[in-house]
């Protein structure tokens, strides 16, 4: 599974790739980020898993983000 260091590197890369993702992929598509770059994209998670595996990449070693989604930096859980 993706280690913490890779997770942080790919998360930081995602911040820089946000603009390219928004302009190059349809809203709702899932984008796989590995080694700080986009390595695969597909319309749904199952298709993305298939594409990643075809390239010899374990989907669990990839950061997957959804095009067109602004992820919140902070959420309140009211338990």
């Amino acid at each position: 599974m993706l280690n913490q260091n890779d997770y942080q590197r790919n998360s930081a890369a995602y911040q820089n790739l946000k603009g390219a993702i928004a302009s190059n992929y349809p809203k709702g598509w899932l984008i796989g980020i590995g080694n700080e770059e986009i390595i695969a994209a597909a319309a749904n998670f199952s298709a993305l898993q298939t594409e990643l595996r075809a390239r010899g990449v374990d989907p669990r070693n990839v950061l997957v983000v959804e095009a067109g989604v602004d992820y919140p930096e902070f959420v309140n859980i009211l338990l």
Binding site: S11, N44, F45, S46, Q49, P59, L63, Y71, F74
Partner: protein
């Protein structure tokens, strides 16, 4: 004659009675893991599990976020609830602090589900129970 839709009906549970749902997830080894999760329409997170369950069920990493319970690690989870019309991947989070909070009410609880998941079904409740069911098909 049409078959009535499946309805999951759960009596409120816990020291402070909580509404909850029973959900089935696909683990990374292909096995199924069934969990009782507090239903909280006020939560903006689809699913929050403990870190151990998240590690067993994560099929890919997702963007994490900060919260009033601390950092929530993000992951993609596979839900398999055909009786509720749900067979999909959904973004979830891991937090042992949230797990501890829901377990304060009942040790049965493994986390919580929020509005992004509850919007996939129809839900409601009365004085004694909370229910979820498959939404009607859109013509």
């Amino acid at each position: 004659m049409s078959t009535p839709p499946h309805v999951q009906i759960n009596a409120y549970k816990g020291i402070n009675p909580r509404c909850w749902v029973h959900l089935r997830f696909v683990a990374i080894d292909g096995s199924l893991r069934e969990l009782d999760l507090v239903a909280d329409t006020g939560s903006p997170c689809g699913v929050i599990l403990g870190q151990t369950d998240l590690a067993l069920l994560a099929q890919g990493f997702a963007a994490g976020t900060n919260s009033n319970f601390g950092y929530l690690a993000g992951a993609w989870l596979e839900l398999q609830m055909p009786e509720l019309g749900i067979n999909t991947h959904i973004m979830g989070y891991g937090s042992d602090a949230v797990l501890q909070a829901v377990r304060h009410d009942s040790a049965d609880f493994a986390g919580l589900v929020g509005l992004p998941l509850l919007r996939m079904v129809e839900y409601g409740g009365d004085a004694h129970t909370f229910w979820v069911r498959k939404p009607p098909a859109v013509p």
